[in-house]
């Protein structure tokens, strides 16, 4: 518990109504979208950078843990205040983004909801590609902190590729601007990149300068069916090998497809499905789509079930968005993983997942962003069945190791947080772990920023 004078100081900084200490409010800021939860001592909701700076100065002086939180939609426990202290919620910092059309960048406050940013730039003919599944609720600050991805990673990359610069508050409460408002900049260390994906362990992002692109005039999507996960993943490699770069390339295994059909009541296809979208001018979309069609229908025996453009694409993406809801209904507990391998190793990764399911007698549905080699194997289980959960954990461990052996990464877009801590060293090795720890200690030597995350011993 924090003493009364600290609470009073916080109230002076952010206003009484924006400092919450009642147990009901604390309960509401104890969780994110994982199964982790921990109650903070206080929730503070600053209105601007200056208030964040004052809160951090105080926390620094008093050595109080600070856990930044956007919308609490993260999938690794990043915003769960595991060491209690202050939850610093940016949800009030959501003013209208400032769009600089000639310079192709936009300035957004940390608490701005991603979808609102996308809508605002699209109204001006611009495009902000990162599209995490929670985009209707999640915030830019959280996206930057976790380096959020989404469906369009293959062609457009993730949040990392759009952050030109940041306004940042250090653990001591100093405010600085990193990066530049230009596409090119080599003025010293790339602090911006260091902050992207740092999960709030190094400081607080108060606003971001984000690159935007011209909105593609046309989009066309093929939905295709295959009789095995192996064939579908070989087609993914083949499409890329032929020099085609779809804007989206999603995969759903048979379990997923069946679940989506049961959930939406709409026929989707059969067996394993690939959803392939091209964007650009209409001519390019048409040309790419017909090339992809040839590959799909060629020796891999795929069947194009749908070929749509314009607003009709919505039916396809509605089905894709229904994946998690549909899987959720299949079992009481759903554990969503985030393994990512070099694209050429996708068939091997898929085979390994199937093997894990068999060996540990588990139900695993597989879907994901096949184009980025990013799969979301989804464990359908029941947290009340302790024996099964043991097998799930063993299965996850084995899958992680296999993923690393294939040259992959334990998390494509969800982050380490609490959830992937056991596997971090496995992937980056002792030397990698040590250098991260040194960065952490030098930037946050009191260890107040999101403590208990990423590293076991920080």
């Amino acid at each position: 518990m924090l003493n009364k004078s600290i609470i009073a100081c916080l109230a002076e900084i952010a206003g009484k109504g924006n400092v919450l200490t009642d147990e009901e409010s604390l309960k509401c800021y104890s969780y994110d979208a994982t199964r982790y939860a921990s109650t903070p001592d206080v929730v503070v909701k600053p209105r601007d950078t200056d208030e964040i700076s004052k809160v951090l100065s105080l926390a620094y002086e008093e050595a109080i843990p600070v856990t930044p939180r956007g919308a609490g939609t993260g999938l690794s426990g990043g915003s769960v205040p595991i060491k209690a202290g202050i939850v610093l919620s940016t949800e009030r910092m959501n003013s209208t983004p400032r769009i600089h059309k000639e310079d192709l960048y936009v300035e957004a406050e940390a608490g701005l909801v991603t979808e609102r940013l996308q809508g605002a730039v699209e109204a001006g003919g611009l495009f902000y590609p990162p599209d995490p599944a929670s985009q209707s609720a999640c915030t830019i600050g959280g996206n930057v902190a976790e380096c959020a991805g989404g469906l369009r990673g293959l062609k457009y990359g993730t949040t990392r590729n759009y952050v030109l610069g940041l306004e940042l508050v250090t653990p001591e409460g100093k405010v600085l601007r990193t990066g530049a408002r230009t596409v090119k900049s080599v003025a010293g260390y790339d602090v911006t990149r260091l902050m992207v994906g740092s999960e709030g362990t190094l400081g607080v992002v108060s606003s971001a300068f984000l690159k935007v692109l011209p909105l593609p005039p046309a989009r066309r999507v093929l939905s295709c069916a295959f009789d095995s996960l192996g064939k579908a993943s070989e087609v993914v490699s083949e499409i890329l090998a032929q020099g085609l770069i779809p804007s989206i390339l999603e995969i759903m295994d048979e379990k997923t497809v069946t679940a989506v059909e049961a959930h939406t009541g709409e026929k989707l296809g059969q067996g394993v499905m690939l959803l392939v979208e091209f964007d650009g001018t209409k001519a390019i979309c048409d040309e790419d789509a017909s090339k992809a069609r040839k590959i799909i229908e060629g020796k891999y025996g795929g069947k194009v079930m749908g070929d749509v453009e314009g607003p009709e694409r919505e039916t396809v993406w509605r089905a894709r968005r229904a994946v998690l809801p549909a899987l959720t209904r299949l079992s009481p507990t759903v554990i969503l993983e985030d393994v990512t391998v070099p694209r050429s190793r996708l068939p091997e990764m898929a085979a390994k997942i199937m093997k894990v399911a068999e060996r540990y007698a588990l139900r695993i549905a597989v879907f994901g962003h096949a184009g980025d080699g990013n799969l979301h194997p989804t464990f359908l289980t029941d947290k009340r069945k302790h024996d099964e959960i043991k097998r799930v954990n063993a299965g996850i461990s084995e899958m992680m190791r296999a993923c690393i052996d294939l040259g992959g990464t334990i998390s494509g877009e969800h982050g380490i947080g609490l959830d992937k801590m056991p596997f971090l060293k496995l992937e980056i090795g002792k030397a990698g772990y040590d250098i991260m720890k040194r960065l952490k200690v030098s930037l946050d030597h009191k260890g107040i920023m999101n403590p208990g995350k990423m590293f076991y011993d920080a």
Binding site: K27, C28, T328, R329
Partner: protein
């Protein structure tokens, strides 16, 4: 019907059982007379299904204004979780947070787990009513004013008198308006005027059409069409008669019970439901029609799901008036050369998400030759009324309503039509408050002139 022993003992465990009449009529659901979620412990499995994904934050109109996690469904579910784990109690803060829900059901549309948020929130409120801190004023209103159905019309008339003779004379700047906050009414508020004569004063119970009736249709007027917007009631009756229906307007019907059980007072809700069930049960009806969206949800769903009565509580299928017309009317109208109006439509939450009806009212509007229909942006977004929500949380309600008023204004329409008297009250207040000229009408009011004798 012999009362079931087991059923009996469970019913009396309630602080007020619905009484013998209900059991004799066998009005209870097949699953027993207890609603699914009546205690916090029984909520645990539903609460457990929440993934905490937070997608409800994107659509919750209350959250958009308060910007606090407790505003959205995920926060409320977490609070209920705390209660069932005994880490939280039924404190006044708990009640206050649970009261900040419009029951608009927007979250349920996007919830990946399909959690019955409405049932959870109402059950928690029921728990608060039974064990926690429930405002005395509300208790008095529910127990005495609403429950004694007969008391509401005379009280309404008294209010009508006061409004007409006293308040109407008050200029907006009058100092007497400062007295309104004493009864917790915002002093600038535009509030509905009670009619001098109720719908039932002016109509008998059985109303016959010309010629042989096509169907025998019960009309559930709800309080507002009986006491305030009597024009809606008259319009429903004349349209139904014009369609060749025999109309039954049971004078024994009363409040639908929504205000009571939505606030947590289920015993009163049950009594009111029983009154209505008995009022309609005695006529052999082919259908029951209502022009009140919330009343429709009550009769179609809540009597069963929330209050534990049988399916088809009134003994006949219930239809919203537009739904009924879309099914049983040809909806062909000759041009009566009425003045042309541009009309936009606001989807009441309890018609759209509550009953899944969005097309029927639009179909009715488009069928009228004098109506030019214009769709508004975010037509399905809650207007912020939420029945008593707009009284208890006017500050939040006003902000939500302002967004709706702006959407209405942006269409350039002359009239905003809707299907819910509660929405109408809110829309009128919000349009006036924001200095906008649009008229608020029920769909059926626009339609009624086509059934007048030429």
């Amino acid at each position: 019907m012999t009362p079931d022993k087991d059923r009996d003992s469970r019913a009396s465990a309630d602080d007020r059982s619905p009484g013998d009449a209900g059991r004799q009529l066998d009005l209870f659901g097949a699953g027993g007379d207890r609603p699914q979620y009546d205690t916090v412990m029984s909520l645990a499995p539903e609460v457990d299904r929440c993934l905490k994904c937070g997608l409800c934050r994107a659509v919750c109109p209350v959250f958009a204004e308060v910007l606090d996690e407790s505003g959205c469904a995920r926060g409320k579910i977490a609070l209920i979780e705390g209660l069932s784990e005994n880490s939280l109690s039924l404190s006044s803060r708990f009640s206050d947070k649970l009261s900040k829900c419009l029951n608009c059901k927007s979250c349920m549309e996007v919830c990946p787990s399909g959690i019955k948020v409405d049932e959870l929130v109402l059950a928690a409120r029921s728990e608060i009513f039974r064990k926690g801190k429930f405002p005395l004023l509300k208790k008095l209103i529910f127990r005495h004013l609403l429950r004694r159905g007969k008391l509401l019309p005379p009280v309404g008339k008294a209010v009508a008198f006061i409004e007409r003779k006293i308040l109407r004379g008050l200029p907006p700047s009058s100092p007497y308006r400062l007295l309104l906050p004493i009864v917790k009414i915002d002093k600038d508020r535009v509030f509905p005027v009670f009619a001098e004569r109720t719908l039932m004063d002016d109509h008998g119970e059985i109303l016959s059409p010309e010629g042989k009736p096509r169907m025998r249709v019960g009309y559930f007027s709800g309080c507002s069409a009986n006491l305030i917007y009597t024009d809606i009631g008259k319009a429903v009756i004349s349209v139904l008669l014009g369609e060749g229906m025999e109309v039954v307007l049971p004078h024994d019907q009363g409040c639908c019970g929504v205000p009571a059980y939505t606030a947590g007072d289920r015993p009163t809700g049950r009594e009111l439901a029983l009154t209505n069930m008995k009022a309609f049960e005695k006529y052999k009806l082919d259908a029951v029609v209502t022009a009140c969206a919330s009343g429709g949800v009550a009769l179609k769903t809540d009597y069963e799901k929330i209050l534990g009565f049988r399916k088809k509580a009134l003994g006949a299928d219930v239809y919203d008036i537009s739904e009924f017309l879309a099914k049983f009317s040809r909806l062909e109208f000759e041009d009566r050369h009425l003045e042309r109006v541009r009309v936009t439509y606001h989807d009441p939450c309890h018609l759209n998400r509550g009953q899944g009806i969005t097309e029927a009212p639009r179909e009715v509007l488009r069928a009228m030759p004098h109506v030019e229909f214009i769709e508004m942006e975010d037509a399905a977004r809650c207007c912020g009324g939420g029945g008593t929500f707009s009284l208890t949380h006017y500050d939040i309600s006003k902000e939500i309503g302002k967004k709706k008023a702006n959407c209405i204004a942006a269409t350039g329409a002359d009239v905003v039509a809707t299907s819910c008297p509660s929405c109408m009250m809110q829309l009128e207040d919000m349009l006036r408050r924001n200095g906008l000229p649009q008229k608020v009408m029920h769909v059926i009011q626009l339609l009624a002139p086509y059934y007048e004798k030429a």
